[in-house]
C-alpha cells in the first residue's frame, strides 16, 4: 500500500532547469509546491570544490555526476525492424547522450552554450514551404510549426538570460544589427546582462579565418559569467576562472549558470516549497474521467511507494523521461509509425556534431585555459540564414571553435596517420597538445516518421518498469547537411592557417557509442492543434489540463542550436500562463 501524503497545490517532477524554474515561479506565486528529484542533493559547496572536482577520470571519463545506468537506461535501435538493446555503459567518457541526475539536473554539468532559436526555427515547415515549396520537405519528415513564434518567446528568453547571467554580445538590438554580434539572431529587446567571455587564441585564429571567408564570427553566448553578477532575484554568482573543468563538472565558484546558482536558492528558501530527493517518480495517476491528474506515485530511497496528490502536476524530468512517464502512466495514445496514429513518442529528434581538428606548426595554444561555452561561432549556415536552393537539405547548424574540454585523457590530438600507441604516438601527443584546436559543426535534425520513442517490450529498470525505447537514425537531410557544414569547417581551418587537418565526418549510421550531442527532443510536442500535438502552446496537456509537460520534449523538431535556453524560456512562459491565467480559471489555456 502506498503511503499517501497531504495534497499540495503543485508537484514538480525533476529538479533541473525546467523543474527549478517551474517550482520557483509557482512557489513565488504563493502555491504550496513539492519538488521531487530522483537523484541526490548536491551544491556548489561542498560537492564541487577543488581540488577534488578537478578530476577528469571521475567526472569526464566515468560521468561521475550523471545518471547511474545500473538503475535505469534506455534501449536503442536504428530502425523499427531491429531489436532494441539497452545502452549498458558510458564507455570511457563516451556514450551518445549522458543524462543528468541529482539536484540541478544536467544544468549542473552542462557547458552553458545559451542560444535563442532563430525566428525561422519556430516556423520551420511553413517558412520552408513558402520559400522552397512543399517538395523541399524531405520524404517522411513530420516537421511542423511550434504554435508560438519567436516574438512570443522573446520576453521569456530575456527573463532566462537575466536570471541565468548569460554573457554575450548582442547581434540584433530591436532590429538594429550590432557590430561583433550574431547578425542572424532574432531581434532582442536588450543586450545580454554580461559582456562576452574572452576569446581564446584558437578562437581568434578561427575568427580571422572566418572573416576572410566573408562569414560573420562572434563570441558564443555563454552561461559562464564573464563578471560577478547578481540576478534580478538577488542571487549572486561568481566570475568564471576559465578553469578548464566545465562540461561534465560542477563549477567551484558558482560562475556557471545552473539551477543551483539561480532558481533553486530562491525556492529552497521559501516555506511553501519542499524538496524531496531520492524520490523516483514512477507514474502520474489520473482520475476515472482520464481528464484530470490527481497525484504522482514515487519510490523513495527506502523503497517505499508514496503518493503525492496535487492540483497541478508538472513533469520536468528531461525530454526522454517526460515521455517515458506519460507512457508509463498510460496518458494519451502511443505513437505507431506504421499507421501514423497516436502522438506520445512521435517526433523524437536529436542533433549531430561533426568536427575538424586543425594542427599548426607555428602557433601555440593553452587549451586548458577554457570555459564551457568559450567559443567563436559563425551562424551563416544555420536555420535558413542561407539559400538552400539545390543543396538537397533544409535547416542547418552553427560552426564553432569551442575551447571546451582540454584535460589530456580525452584530449590529446594527433594528426591522422599517427599510430595510436608506441613511441611515435607519444612524440605526436607531446608535440600537438598545444598546437591543435577543434572546430565543430552542430546541426539540426528534423523529425521523421521512423524516429520515435515508446516503451521497450523486454527490458526493465530497477523498479520493474519498462525502459524507454528509442528508434532513431540519420537520414539524407542530416548527412548532406553535415557534409556541407563539415566542408565549411575545413575551409575555415585552412584559412586560419592550419598546416594539417583531421576531418571527422558524421558516420552514416547513428551510433550510441561515441560521445556527441546531448540534445534529445520531442516525443510530447507542442502545437496549436490537438490533432497533431500533445501539449498546447502553454505546454499543457490537451486532454489533461492540470498536467504540464515542460522541457525539450515539446520541440516538434530540433534546430541547429543547443536547447537549454529555449527550455528555460518555455518554462518561464508556461509558468507565466499558469500564474496569470490558469490560477484564476483552472482549465484549458488554449
Amino acid at each position: 500500500m502506498a503511503i499517501k501524503k497531504d495534497p499540495v497545490d503543485a508537484v514538480v517532477v525533476g529538479m533541473g532547469w525546467a523543474g527549478g524554474i517551474m517550482a520557483k515561479e509557482l512557489a513565488q506565486a504563493g502555491l504550496t509546491v513539492v519538488g521531487l528529484e530522483r537523484g541526490p542533493y548536491r551544491n556548489t559547496a561542498p560537492h564541487f570544490q577543488p581540488p577534488e572536482i578537478h578530476d577528469e577520470l571521475r567526472y569526464a571519463r566515468r560521468h561521475g555526476l550523471m545518471q547511474n545506468l545500473r538503475r535505469e537506461t534506455n534501449t536503442f535501435r536504428n530502425n523499427p525492424r531491429q531489436r532494441a538493446l539497452p545502452m549498458r555503459q558510458w564507455a570511457y567518457g563516451q556514450g551518445a547522450y549522458p543524462l543528468g541526475e541529482g539536484l540541478g539536473g544536467s544544468g549542473v554539468h552542462w557547458n552553458g552554450q545559451s542560444w535563442r532559436f532563430l525566428p525561422w526555427d519556430f516556423e520551420t515547415r511553413s517558412r520552408t514551404v513558402e520559400r522552397y515549396g512543399e517538395e523541399a520537405i524531405p520524404p517522411d519528415a513530420t516537421i511542423q510549426d511550434w504554435g508560438i513564434t519567436y516574438d512570443d518567446l522573446e520576453p521569456y528568453y530575456d527573463k532566462f538570460e537575466y536570471a541565468a547571467g548569460i554573457s554575450g554580445q548582442a547581434g540584433n538590438l530591436q532590429g538594429q544589427t550590432q557590430e561583433g554580434g550574431n547578425p542572424f539572431e532574432g531581434p532582442r529587446q536588450r543586450d545580454y546582462p554580461l559582456p562576452p567571455l574572452k576569446t581564446a587564441y584558437s578562437g581568434l585564429l578561427f575568427w580571422e579565418g572566418a572573416e576572410r571567408l566573408g562569414y560573420h564570427p562572434f563570441p558564443s553566448p555563454a552561461g559562464n559569467q564573464s563578471q560577478a553578477y547578481t540576478n534580478p532575484d538577488g542571487v549572486a554568482m561568481g566570475r568564471c576562472l576559465y578553469c578548464g573543468f566545465c562540461s561534465k563538472y560542477g563549477c567551484e565558484v558558482a560562475a556557471k549558470s545552473s539551477p543551483l546558482t539561480t532558481v533553486l536558492p530562491v525556492v529552497l528558501g521559501l516555506d511553501n516549497f519542499q524538496l524531496r530527493t531520492h524520490a523516483n517518480v514512477i507514474r502520474v495517476n489520473l482520475d476515472d474521467t482520464r481528464t484530470r491528474a490527481v497525484s504522482v506515485t514515487y519510490v523513495d530511497a527506502q523503497g517505499r511507494e508514496i503518493e503525492q496528490p496535487a492540483d497541478i502536476i508538472v513533469l520536468a524530468a528531461y525530454a526522454l523521461n517526460n515521455v517515458r512517464l506519460l507512457l508509463l502512466s498510460g496518458i494519451g495514445q502511443t505513437y505507431d509509425p506504421m499507421s501514423g496514429e497516436g502522438l506520445i513518442g512521435k517526433n523524437y529528434s536529436y542533433q549531430f556534431i561533426s568536427a575538424v581538428s586543425a594542427f599548426f606548426e607555428d602557433r601555440v595554444f593553452n587549451p586548458f585555459m577554457s570555459a564551457g561555452a568559450m567559443a567563436t561561432v559563425v551562424d551563416d549556415f544555420n536555420g535558413d540564414n542561407f539559400d538552400h536552393t539545390g543543396l538537397g537539405f533544409i535547416g542547418g547548424g552553427f560552426i564553432a571553435q569551442f575551447t571546451g574540454e582540454a584535460a589530456p585523457i580525452n584530449t590529446h590530438p594527433v594528426p591522422l596517420g599517427t599510430p595510436p600507441w608506441g613511441s611515435e604516438w607519444k612524440r605526436a601527443a607531446a608535440e600537438n597538445y598545444r598546437r591543435a584546436f577543434t572546430i565543430i559543426t552542430h546541426g539540426a535534425v528534423l523529425s521523421y516518421r521512423n524516429n520515435y520513442l515508446d516503451l521497450d517490450p523486454t527490458y526493465r529498470d530497477a523498479y520493474g518498469q519498462p525502459l524507454l525505447r528509442m528508434t532513431f537514425n540519420w537520414t539524407d537531410n542530416e548527412l548532406r547537411m553535415a557534409d556541407f557544414l563539415t566542408n565549411k569547417a575545413a575551409l575555415i581551418a585552412r584559412e586560419a592557417g592550419a598546416s594539417d587537418i583531421n576531418i571527422f565526418r558524421l558516420a552514416r549510421t547513428f551510433s550510441i557509442v561515441p560521445g556527441q550531442a546531448t540534445h534529445n527532443n520531442g516525443g510530447a510536442i507542442m502545437g496549436a492543434d490537438p490533432a497533431t500535438s500533445v501539449v498546447n502552446p502553454y505546454l499543457q496537456m490537451w486532454d489533461v489540463p492540470n498536467l504540464f509537460v515542460v522541457g525539450a520534449s515539446a520541440f516538434p523538431q530540433n534546430t541547429g542550436y543547443n536547447p537549454t535556453e529555449t527550455v528555460g524560456a518555455l518554462a518561464y512562459w508556461t509558468a507565466d500562463a499558469i500564474r496569470n491565467r490558469y490560477l484564476k480559471n483552472p482549465g484549458p489555456l488554449a
Binding site: 549498458r88 558558482a254 593553452n366 586548458f368 523486454t458
Partner: protein, 253 residues
C-alpha cells in the same frame, strides 16, 4: 602568496553562500579572484625510487607480469621520458579493477543478453574484471602456442606483434573478443597515464609533463588567456594529491 584559492578559505566562503537559503549572501569572496597572485608554487618533491609501492589488489602474478609488459609497449619509456610502466599504469589498472569500474558497478547488467549491432554499443555480460582475467589467460595460451612462452617473456618485437594482432582482431581468443580486450587495455592505459595521480598512475605527473598540461590547480586563467596568446604557459603541474597533502597548497593571506 598562492597560485590558487586556498582550499580551506574557498570552502569557507563558498559554504556560506552555496548552501544559503537567504539571499543574497553572494560569492563576494570571489571578487578576490583578479588579485589572486599566480606562480610560482614550489615544485613538489620528486617521488621515491622507481618500483617502490608496486602493490596489487586484484591482478594475480601472471596478470601483473602481463600488464607490466603490455603497457610498456603501448606507452614505452624513451628519450621523451617515462612510459606507462614507470607512470604506474599497472597499479592504476589494478585499482580500477578492484573498484566500481572493474565490477561494472554502474553498468546496466540485466538480461536478456543478445548480440546487437555495433551502433547499439556493448552487449556482453563480461565486466572489466572478467575481460582482463579471461583475456590475459587466453592471450598467454596463444603466446605459448605461437612463441613458446607467456606474453611477458616474449621479445619486445613479438609483444608488439601480439598487441597489433589483438587490436586488429586478427588473433582470435577463446572467451573474449581480441579487439574488446585490446580497446579496454588501451583506454585504461591512456587513463592511467593521464589521470590524476590519486588513482595510482601518472606518477610524478609524467603524462602531464609530456604534453604540457598544468593539472588540477585552481588557477584563475581569466587574466592569462590573452596574456598567453601564442605563448606556452609552462608551469610545474599540480595534482589533487599535491593539494590535499599540502605539497602545493598555501594560503593567499
Amino acid at each position: 602568496m598562492s597560485s590558487y584559492v586556498s582550499r580551506r578559505n574557498l570552502i569557507k566562503s563558498v559554504g556560506l553562500a552555496g548552501v544559503a537559503r537567504t539571499l543574497p549572501l553572494g560569492f563576494g569572496a570571489f571578487a578576490l579572484a583578479p588579485e589572486m597572485p599566480r606562480l610560482p608554487w614550489p615544485a613538489p618533491q620528486q617521488e621515491g625510487a622507481e618500483g617502490a609501492g608496486l602493490t596489487y589488489a586484484f591482478l594475480n602474478s601472471e596478470e601483473q607480469a602481463f600488464i607490466e609488459a603490455a603497457v610498456a609497449r603501448l606507452i614505452p619509456a624513451d628519450e621523451l621520458g617515462p612510459g606507462a610502466l614507470e607512470a604506474g599504469v599497472p597499479q592504476f589498472i589494478d585499482r580500477q579493477l578492484i573498484g566500481v569500474f572493474g565490477s561494472g558497478g554502474d553498468w546496466y547488467l540485466q538480461g536478456p543478453w543478445v548480440e546487437g549491432e555495433p551502433e547499439q554499443g556493448y552487449q556482453m555480460r563480461l565486466v572489466p574484471q572478467e575481460i582482463y582475467r579471461a583475456g590475459i589467460r587466453d592471450i598467454n595460451l596463444y603466446c605459448q602456442e605461437t612463441y613458446g612462452g607467456p606474453f611477458a617473456e616474449l621479445a619486445e618485437e613479438q609483444q608488439i606483434e601480439v598487441l597489433q594482432g589483438l587490436q586488429s582482431g586478427e588473433i582470435a581468443l577463446q572467451d573474449v573478443p581480441a579487439a574488446l580486450f585490446f580497446s579496454t587495455l588501451y583506454q585504461n592505459t591512456m587513463e592511467g597515464f593521464f589521470a590524476d595521480p590519486i588513482y595510482g598512475g601518472n606518477r610524478n605527473k609524467v603524462g602531464w609533463r609530456l604534453v604540457g598540461y598544468p593539472g588540477a590547480a585552481s588557477v584563475d586563467y581569466g587574466a592569462l588567456v590573452e596574456e598567453y596568446y601564442n605563448r606556452p604557459y609552462e608551469v610545474e603541474p599540480v595534482s589533487i594529491a599535491d593539494i590535499q597533502t599540502g605539497e602545493a597548497s598555501h594560503s593567499h593571506e
